[in-house]
């Protein structure tokens, strides 16, 4: 009986395969948080919706949300690969090894891993955004707006992406106030509103009056609003959580990249790539500069424009490492490779990177 069923399924499968060319391409997405986090995963899902809107019948999409990094991720990605996805976007740093492992077993499926650097097989691409460009701008705003000269930074995991953000924020702040101080709290999670709120309260209790985060929930913004300090949104415009609190927000816009990559699969032109776009390409955008004096908003706008056009790069020397040893000489600009593997703080950041 089993054999008959199997035979029938095979026949059916074979019978269908010639028609597969006209079938819609299946684009699948794996998210680390819930699509309703109004942060990181929410923005990726907005990208998915844009793919649906722009490519219409040519594409079919699916997503899995709240997939934990680690063994769960490999199962989820493999399930997608097995279920006939043509291209799979895995949207968290911690999916890096799982993505490459599954890619080895499914050479016909295209894999796109966000924020990683491993492309062990020809069917794996990586893509990222230069969020640090935005972090430099918010660092400048924080230093200009702060009365206590201290900002709080809620961090997730000590990976280059996060450390780069901390450094960029600090460089921006130092360009306004050389003595600006930063208190960093690691919560070891991407999305945990209760812990993020605890961290925010602890930081505010210790006298920070500016709050920024590299975690995905809007809980810190809510706490900042309650305590009457200012904060920066994360990943999406979080003004709804703090209408009088949010100064600006670094917004991720994955839509154009997703549309281009899925279209490449449809056209049969997909090939391995490593994209790292920023303000210029529209991958990174800044929410309106609110709750601050007009001159400051105008200045932030100027810096944003300078970074966009390439007239200014946040990681330009002279920059020393945390221990005071020189890293970049006067006028020297950090290479993309150096930035992607960044694993040390710049001078002026206190504390040690957990390992």
């Amino acid at each position: 009986m089993k054999r008959i069923l199997l035979g029938a399924a095979l026949a059916l499968g074979l019978g269908l395969s010639p028609a597969a060319a006209q079938d819609p391409v299946r684009a699948c997405f794996v998210y680390v948080g819930p699509v309703g986090d109004f942060g990181w995963s929410y923005q990726h899902d907005q990208g998915r919706l844009q793919v649906e809107a722009e490519l219409g019948d040519q594409v079919e999409t699916a997503f899995l949300e709240s997939v934990k990094e680690g063994a769960d991720a490999e199962r989820a990605i493999e399930r997608f690969a097995r279920s006939g996805c043509d291209i799979i976007f895995t949207t968290s740093f911690g999916y890096m090894d799982a993505t490459n492992k599954v890619a080895a077993r499914f050479p016909d499926v295209k894999f796109e891993h966000a924020t990683g650097y491993k492309r062990e097989h020809p069917n794996v691409s990586t893509y990222n955004s230069k969020f640090y460009q935005g972090r430099y701008i918010i660092g400048q705003i924080a230093a200009a707006m702060s009365d206590t000269g201290t900002a709080g930074y809620i961090a997730s995991f000590p990976i280059p992406e996060v450390i780069r953000g901390i450094n960029a924020f600090m460089l921006g702040a130092q360009s306004v106030d050389p003595d600006f101080a930063l208190k960093i709290v690691w919560v070891n999670s991407w999305f945990d509103p209760a812990r993020e709120a605890d961290a925010a309260k602890a930081l505010i209790g210790q006298g920070v009056d500016m709050l920024t985060q590299h975690t995905d929930s809007a809980a810190p913004m809510q706490v900042a609003a309650e305590e009457g300090i200012k904060a920066f949104g994360q990943a999406s415009d979080q003004i709804a959580f703090g209408p009088e609190t949010q100064l600006t927000s670094i917004i991720d816009d994955w839509g154009p990249y997703y549309v281009a990559r899925v279209k490449a699969v449809i056209d049969g032109t997909w090939s391995q790539s490593d994209k790292w776009d920023g303000l210029l390409e529209g991958n990174v955008a800044m929410a309106p500069y609110t709750n601050m004096p007009e001159e400051l908003a105008a200045k932030a706008q100027e810096v944003e424009e300078a970074i966009r056009t390439g007239a200014f790069e946040p990681f330009t020397g002279p920059i020393n490492k945390q221990d005071g040893t020189p890293w970049l000489a006067e006028g020297e600009v950090a290479t993309e490779g150096a930035l992607l593997g960044l694993n040390f703080y710049v001078e002026g950041v206190d504390g040690q990177i957990p390992n």
């Binding site: 819930p34 699509v35 309703g36 986090d37 109004f38 929410y42 709240s66 709080g152 208190k183 960093i184 709290v185 690691w186 919560v187 070891n188 999305f191 945990d192 509103p193 209760a194 993020e196 709120a197 605890d198 961290a199 309260k201 602890a202 930081l203 505010i204 209790g205 210790q206 920070v208 929930s217 809007a218 809980a219 809510q222 706490v223 309650e226 709804a240 959580f241 206190d350 504390g351 040690q352 957990p354 390992n355």
Partner: protein
């Protein structure tokens, strides 16, 4: 300093609420391992009702109600039908997490309604105590009042004596005419209400947000706290605040730049729980005195 104490109180309140409820349940001889499940159901019910009505007080009621409703399921099975309490409690937790995830799907990431802080004329302005207790959310005050109430009830009233009798020697209690099943069901429902309130605190006070498994193991910690307190209400307060302090201390230590790995700090509350349980288990005589003798044993009344 006050700011640090405030965060400790906030972190401790849900633990205290859930633990004091479970303490009463266990004093009646019933071990309900479903605290986590009742808490998470309370959390989602409180959030949903507060958001859709705009009234956080209705949310609190809904949280308590949802916890009670789930505890009724447990009471019917474990007390009424004398099923294995451990298995039934575990099932209740899994069931609660599942139901809450399903009900709460549409509420993930939506800004919720916050329970306004108390303002008691006179009391709220007292130094230290004022901001810590009387200018906090009402659930904090309730948790302390409940603990005091439970302490008086258990050790100073006839009804409390009966409840303890049921927990120590149900057969004897029945022989002198006590309604063992009735008393145990009432205790279980009280535990459900308390766990539901603890859940409501998480989504109406702690962070006005809902995510799946927002309880993050707090129900289990509450269970451990009951053992830690060796079934004495006063010690539950001590345990809950100690635990709240450990939870919060890691963030303050980091912000102060203390060079301890943050992963270790994150694990600290759980390590503390294990340590305390080991220490208590080592001192058997002291624990035995307070342990309800019939804890976890199903009771079938003679007819």
């Amino acid at each position: 300093m006050i700011a640090i104490l405030l965060t400790i109180v906030t972190a401790a309140t849900p633990l205290l609420l859930a633990a004091i409820g479970e303490l009463v349940v266990e004093r009646s001889g019933v071990l309900n391992l479903g605290v986590e499940g009742m808490m998470v159901v309370g959390a989602v019910a409180a959030f949903a009702v507060a958001l859709s009505t705009g009234n956080p007080w209705l949310g609190v009621l809904a949280g308590a109600g949802a916890g009670a409703a789930l505890s009724l399921v447990f009471a019917a099975l474990a007390v009424g039908l004398a099923t294995n309490q451990v298995a039934t409690g575990l099932a209740l937790t899994l069931f609660g997490i599942g139901v809450a995830g399903l009900v709460g799907e549409g509420f993930v990431g939506v800004p919720g309604v916050k329970l306004p802080p108390l303002s008691v004329p006179g009391l709220s302005d007292l130094p230290i105590i004022g901001p810590l207790i009387f200018a906090q959310d009402p659930l904090t005050l309730l948790s302390l009042a409940l603990t005091a109430g439970v302490s008086v009830f258990l050790f100073r009233t006839r009804a409390g004596l009966r409840l303890r009798a049921v927990g120590d020697a149900p057969a004897a209690a029945q022989a002198i005419g006590l309604n063992v099943i009735g008393i145990r069901v009432a205790a279980v429902i009280f535990g459900g209400v308390c766990a539901g309130l603890a859940g409501a605190h998480l989504t109406l006070v702690y962070t006005s947000q809902w995510i799946e498994e927002i309880t993050a193991g707090r129900g289990w910690i509450a269970l451990a706290l009951v053992v830690f307190a060796s079934w004495r209400p006063g010690r539950v307060i001590l345990g809950a605040y100690l635990f709240g302090a450990v939870t919060i201390a890691q963030f303050h230590a980091q912000a102060l730049g203390v060079a301890v790995p943050s992963q270790l700090l994150s694990a600290l509350p759980y390590l503390a729980t294990i340590l305390v349980l080991v220490l208590i288990a080592a001192n058997r005589r002291a624990t035995m005195v307070n342990t309800p003798a019939a804890l976890g044993k199903p009771f079938v009344p003679d007819r």
